[in-house]
Amino acid sequence: MITRRSMLAGILASTALPAALRAENEPYVLGTLFPMTGLLSELGSIYANATALGLEHVAADRRLARPIVLKAQDSQSTPQGGAVGMSKLANVDRAPYVLVGLTGVAKAAEPIATRAKVLMVNGGGVGPDLAGLSPYFWNIIPLANQELPTAFDWMKRNAIKRVALIYLDDPLGNALRKGLQEGLPAIGASLVGEFSAAPSAQQFSAMIAKIREARPDLVYVASYGTQQTQIFKQLRDNGMTQPIMTYSVGGTPSVAALPESEGILFTSQVADWDAADPLTRRFVDGWRARYKDNPSTYAQNYYNAVLLYTQVLERLEKEGKPVTGDTLREAIGSGTFDLVGGKARFSATGAIDMPTQLNRVQNGKFEKAS
């Protein structure tokens, strides 16, 4: 017998059913919070291009029951832009997995993402304090302090005893400064000068005059973006012939394009573009075909971040679990993943464990330094 109550239940069920079906068929959302404008927009383009290539390859593979849709926000290279962008991604786009870059932006966006239980994956910021930032924050790039042992190894082999440091007075610059202060004595070297730069500084001739007075064997630069390239140019223009070294940010195209960057050394994760494994070949060949150049390690990281999302989604689909920040976090923390560069695991603090290498700018290209 049809009662009013069963009719009402039927009506409610019929309205709820399409919603449930729709949820099941809705695409997975991948959010990006990249610096598409502002001082570091050059990096944003690399991140976005790598993400696009990764999504194209994943879509072609048809390994997931549902497609992945991209929701992009521009961080404008600023922490404030990062916070606004993350709010939109978490509350409007409902992205459970967001790719971020830049230390300051990531740190500004993190509280919003953690509150909304959105998983953040960083492939560009290398500030050591990004490790253990939040249970929902994962780094798919080795952090700057993880690169320093490779730098020390080269300095020791090349009898570098006196190091001058130019650093941006921010968390990243200060972390590298601390790393050098602690690590150099172990190889019989020391910091003979620490020169801080204001974020807006563009004239470095006075600073370089002081560096010259310190008579260093090597100048280590802990800055980034346009300022970093200006420092390289002015160091060479002002007659500094000593080796110049920096961290993974040295692997950006604008550095390679600057004639004064010739010979500059930088550490980064291991990147072998000639490796024969199918994942590396597909990534490198795809990048070369589309962008007519070799990829950078940043491109590798964001391509890997897309692969990571796909492999985690596959696992959740198999286990019949919903896709939430918590299920994604649990899957990433307990698994091993096939990425470009080899199998990868993450530590309890959310840092990827990857070997690092030293590179050199040679004839406008990056090559591994011995």
């Binding site: 404008t37 502002g38 001082l39 927009s41 050059e42 007075d169 020169f195 801080s196 730069a197 204001a198 807006s200 500084a201 563009q202 004239q203 001739s205 006075a206 600073m207 005059a209 002081k210 010259r212 007075e213 973006g225 346009t226 390239t229 200006q230 140019k233 002015q234 060479r236 223009d237 002002n238 007659g239 604008s254 600057l258 004639p259 004064e260």
Partner: protein
């Protein structure tokens, strides 16, 4: 030798500041328009030079292209932005906001076409050589010195020895009297924008080859211009040039006693000191404000 090296670096920076600030000071002194978009003129000239050189033009022709675009932008601002506003309302604040907006729009346009990153040209002129033990000077230092001397001598001659120059100097004082003498305030205002915008070009080109340029430099150029105009004495081009040189020197010499990151802040300490203790600036006249 460190102090000598810092002084040389300071003079070079100061010469670029002097060239940058003089144009703003001339426009403000003659028309009383707070031309914030002067920073945009500077980066427009820098990028125009850069692009022209990269297209294969000789540096002299590239400089001509930069000059043409800078002057065109200055005239555009005068004729199509400031003058219509002044006709209707003419408040200082409205003109300031319009100038600010136009400057931002130009900066965004440059960023759209050339990207937001740093751009430069590598030329042998910027490579320093050791001229004395521990003292490094790049050939661009002497080029900047020559440019500063020639440009300021030419501008001084023009302002002091020609009718148009005298009219320009009188424009801010008494436009009504100018009309009585048959001179057009409108034409003189356009002339101020032509000269002021042209003055930004040498500084922009020299900055492009020495430190490089980026769209966001517009704000820094404006700050330097403003500081030099106030320190030099509002209405005085010579004062602005001298103040630019002085600020460059302070910015570099201060590094010998404070941490390197505070060098820029030193310029603004000087600015505050002048506002508090010598509000008429180095060469300003009492009551000229």
């Amino acid at each position: 030798m460190l102090l000598t090296q810092l002084a040389v670096a300071g003079i070079q920076t100061g010469m670029l500041y002097a060239l940058t600030a003089a144009g703003f000071a001339l426009i403000f002194g003659a028309t009383r328009v707070f031309h914030v978009a002067h920073g945009a003129t500077f980066i427009l000239a820098g990028y125009a030079f850069l692009e022209a050189v990269q297209l294969g033009l000789h540096w002299s022709l590239a400089s001509g292209v930069a000059l043409l675009l800078a002057v065109a932008f200055g005239l555009f601002m005068d004729a199509l932005v400031y003058r219509p506003i002044q006709k209707h309302e003419g408040s200082f604040f409205t003109v300031f906001v319009a100038s600010f907006g136009a400057g931002i729009a130009m900066q965004a346009l440059i960023q759209f076409f050339f990207g937001g990153g740093f751009a430069t040209i590598s030329v042998p002129l910027t490579r320093a050589a050791e001229v004395l033990p521990g003292l490094y000077i790049a050939p661009v230092f002497w080029v900047a010195l020559a440019v500063v001397v020639v440009v300021f001598a030419a501008v001084s001659l023009f302002l002091e020895r020609t009718h148009a120059g005298l009219g320009l100097r009188a424009l801010s004082e008494n436009p009504e009297l100018l009309r009585a003498y048959g001179l057009s305030a409108r034409r003189l205002s356009a002339l101020a924008f032509v000269l002021g915008s042209a003055l930004a070009v040498p500084g922009a080109i020299l900055t492009t080859v020495t430190t490089g340029i980026q769209p966001a430099d517009s704000a820094h150029v404006m700050l330097v211009s403003l500081a030099a105009t106030v320190v030099g004495g509002i209405g005085s081009i010579r004062g602005a040039a001298l103040a630019g040189l002085f600020l460059g020197l302070v910015e570099n010499l201060v590094v010998s006693v404070v941490d390197t990151q505070w060098s820029q802040a030193a310029s603004f300490v000087v600015l505050f000191a002048f506002i508090l203790f010598r509000p008429n600036g180095l060469m300003g006249r009492a009551g000229a404000r």
